[in-house]
C-alpha cells in the first residue's frame, strides 16, 4: 500500500478533501438547494395534508398518528436516502472518468483513502445539515413528540451513509452510467414507495413483509418514526441501526478497494 508513512504533516489529508468538496459546494450550491429541502416539503404538503384528509375521513389515525405526522419522519429517511444516492453515482463517475478530478487529486499528497473519506465526510455533513433543517420543519408541522427526536439528524446522516458508501464504491468501479438508471428504476424508486414509507408494515400482505424488511430504507423509516414519536422498544431500534451501520461499513471497505484500484492502477 502506497504511503503508509505519513510524512506530509499538517491538516489531515482527508480533511483537505472534505474542504475541497465544501468549497466546491460553496461555489455551486444554488442549483441543488431546491431538491434537498423544497421537495420533501412539497411531498409533505401534498401527501400529508391532501391524503391526510382522506385518511382522516376513513380511519381517523394511522398507528395513533394523524397521517401527516405519520409520514413526516419517513420522509426524513427518504430525503436523506435520496441525498446519498444523488451525491454518489453520477458525481463520482464524473470524478473518476469523465472529468477525472479525483485522478488530479491523486497526484497531490492525498491517498485514495483520503479522497474517499473526504467525500463521504462531506456527504455526511450535507446529510446532517439537511436532516437538522428537515427536523425543524416537521417540528413546525407538530410531528415531533419525543426527546428522542434529537437523534433524527444522526439517523438521517446514518441513512445517507448507508447508501452513499456502497454507491460511491460502485461508481468508482463503473465504466459507464448505464446501470445507474436501472438502479433508480428497479431499486431506489420501489424502495422509496414500499419501505413502509406511506403506510404501516401491517398493511402489506404477509408474504411481502419480509421483502419490505429486506429494504435498507425500511430500517431508516422505522428508526426515524420511532425517534420522532418516542415509540417502540429499544432492541428493534438497535437492530435497525446495526443494518444501516453494516451497510455503511461494508460500503467503506468496498470503496477503499475500488477507489484505490481506479486511481492507482
Amino acid at each position: 500500500m502506497i504511503g503508509s508513512t505519513n510524512t506530509d504533516v499538517g491538516r489531515s489529508r482527508w480533511l483537505r478533501s472534505w474542504g475541497y468538496h465544501a468549497e466546491y459546494y460553496a461555489q455551486t450550491w444554488r442549483g441543488s438547494v431546491a431538491s434537498s429541502v423544497l421537495f420533501p416539503i412539497l411531498y409533505l404538503a401534498a401527501l400529508g395534508i391532501g391524503v391526510g384528509h382522506l385518511v382522516a375521513h376513513h380511519h381517523g389515525v394511522v398507528d395513533g398518528q394523524t397521517y401527516l405526522h405519520y409520514i413526516a419522519p419517513s420522509l426524513l429517511a427518504t430525503t436523506t436516502m435520496q441525498l446519498g444516492e444523488g451525491e454518489s453515482l453520477w458525481p463520482v463517475l464524473a470524478c473518476v472518468k469523465w472529468i477525472r478530478t479525483y485522478h488530479a487529486a491523486a497526484t497531490t499528497p492525498l491517498e485514495p483513502d483520503d479522497i474517499l473519506f473526504g467525500k463521504l465526510a462531506w456527504v455526511a455533513t450535507r446529510a446532517f445539515v439537511t436532516a437538522v433543517l428537515y427536523t425543524a420543519i416537521i417540528a413546525c408541522f407538530g410531528a415531533i413528540q419525543s426527546w428522542w427526536s434529537l437523534t433524527l439528524p444522526f439517523i438521517g446522516t446514518l441513512v445517507t451513509l448507508a447508501f452513499s458508501a456502497p454507491l460511491v464504491a460502485y461508481a468508482a468501479r463503473s465504466q459507464s452510467d448505464a446501470s445507474f438508471t436501472t438502479l433508480y428504476r428497479f431499486a431506489f424508486v420501489p424502495m422509496f414507495l414500499f419501505s413502509a414509507t406511506f403506510y404501516p408494515l401491517s398493511e402489506y400482505p404477509g408474504y411481502l413483509r419480509p421483502v419490505v424488511q429486506f429494504f435498507p430504507l425500511y430500517h431508516g423509516v422505522a428508526l426515524a418514526r420511532a425517534a420522532a414519536f418516542g415509540q417502540g422498544s429499544l432492541v428493534p431500534q438497535l437492530g435497525h441501526v446495526a443494518v444501516l451501520v453494516a451497510m455503511a461499513v461494508l460500503g467503506v471497505m468496498w470503496g477503499r478497494r475500488t477507489m484505490r484500484r481506479r486511481l492507482t492502477d
Partner: protein, 309 residues
C-alpha cells in the same frame, strides 16, 4: 539521495493483467535536467509517468524519487512534485482562479498563500484576464496552461508533463514551450512525454526513446540523431501506388533507404548532392525535399515505424 539524481528507476515493470505495458526500464534523471520520454501512443509512456509520479504502483522493479521510496513515502514525494496529466481534469464549473486556489489547498497551503500563488501563476501562464471566467469557456490552449499553473501551485522541484501540447495549435504550443523554458531556467526539473519529435528536440536535454514498453535508445537529441541517422534526409514522392518499387533503384544513392507508404527516405550526408545524382540518373520524383535528420528518423531506424503511426 544518490549523487545528483532526483529520480532513479530500475527494471521498472507495469502489468495490467496479462498485458505488460512497461517491460523493465531503467531511468536516471538529474536535478535541473529536462528529460523526455519519446514514443508513439501505446509505448508505455503514460504508465511510466504514473509510476514516477508516485501515483501508481510498479508491478516490479524499484523507484526512488528524492531518495525516497514511493511505496512508503507517497504523500511526501507527491508534495514536492507537480503533475500535468494528459487530460486537463479541471473543474469546468468553477472559475480559473478557484481551480488553482482549491487545488493548492490539497497541499495544505494557507488561504493567503494559495491566493498569492494563484495570482502569480495566472500572470505566468497569461491567464490573468480570464481569472474569473468559468473554465468551460476557455480554449484548449488556455485549459492546458491552467493545468500547468495548477501543477505549479506547490512550487514543485520536478514538474511531470504527459503529452503537454497534444491537440494544440502551433501558436499555443510555442507559448507553452516558452513557459517551460522559463521553468527550466528557474531550476525546475522537467519530465516530459511526447510523441512529437520536434517537441522532444526543443525541450529535452536528454531523452529515452520508448517502443512497446521498452527503452530502445537513450541520449541527448543531437547525439541520438548523430548516432542513429545521417546528417541529412532526402524525401522523395512518386506517382505510384507502391513506393517499394523504387527501393532497388534508389539504394545505391544512400547509406540507408526507408520506404514509407507515401514516400521514400534517403539517408545521406549531403542531400543536395544526392538529389542531383538522382535526377542525373533520370529518376524523376513528383516532389523532393532535403531536410536535416530528426528524432523521427532515429525512431524509424530503431523500430521500423513512424512515431505517429
Amino acid at each position: 539521495m544518490t549523487g545528483t539524481h532526483v529520480l532513479e528507476a530500475h527494471q521498472l515493470v507495469k502489468r495490467f493483467g496479462e498485458f505488460e505495458a512497461v517491460k523493465g526500464i531503467d531511468v536516471e534523471i538529474d536535478r535541473g535536467e529536462s528529460f523526455g520520454f519519446l514514443g508513439p501512443n501505446g509505448a508505455g509512456k503514460t504508465s511510466t509517468m504514473r509510476m514516477i509520479s508516485a501515483v501508481s504502483q510498479p508491478s516490479g522493479g524499484t523507484i526512488s524519487i528524492f531518495g525516497l521510496d514511493p511505496r512508503t513515502h507517497g504523500p511526501e514525494i507527491r508534495s514536492r512534485l507537480g503533475v500535468v496529466p494528459q487530460e486537463d481534469s479541471l473543474e469546468l464549473e468553477l472559475s480559473v482562479r478557484h481551480n488553482l486556489e482549491m487545488f493548492g489547498r490539497y497541499f495544505d497551503l494557507s488561504r493567503r498563500v494559495v491566493r498569492e500563488r494563484a495570482t502569480e501563476l495566472l500572470e505566468f501562464t497569461q491567464l490573468t484576464e480570464r481569472a474569473n471566467d468559468k473554465v468551460d469557456n476557455l480554449s484548449g490552449g488556455m485549459k492546458r496552461r491552467l493545468t500547468i499553473a495548477r501543477g505549479l501551485m506547490n512550487r514543485p522541484e520536478i514538474l511531470i508533463l504527459d503529452e503537454p501540447t497534444t491537440g494544440l495549435d502551433p501558436q499555443a504550443r510555442h507559448l507553452l514551450w516558452d513557459r517551460l523554458y522559463r521553468l527550466k531556467r528557474e531550476g525546475v526539473t522537467l519530465i516530459i512525454t511526447t510523441h512529437y519529435m520536434d517537441e522532444a528536440e526543443q525541450l529535452c536535454d536528454r531523452l529515452v526513446v520508448m517502443d512497446q514498453g521498452s527503452i530502445v535508445a537513450e541520449g541527448a537529441p543531437r547525439t541520438l540523431i548523430e548516432q542513429f541517422s545521417t546528417r541529412e534526409v532526402v524525401e522523395l514522392r512518386f506517382t505510384t501506388d507502391d513506393h517499394e518499387e523504387y527501393f532497388d533503384r534508389l539504394a545505391p544513392f544512400a547509406e540507408r533507404v526507408e520506404v514509407l507508404p507515401d514516400r521514400v527516405l534517403l539517408y545521406v550526408n549531403n542531400g543536395d548532392d544526392t538529389l542531383r545524382d538522382v535526377h542525373a540518373a533520370h529518376i524523376t520524383p513528383t516532389s523532393a525535399l532535403v531536410r536535416r535528420s530528426s528524432l523521427e528518423d532515429v525512431f524509424l531506424h530503431l523500430t521500423g515505424r513512424t512515431l505517429t503511426e
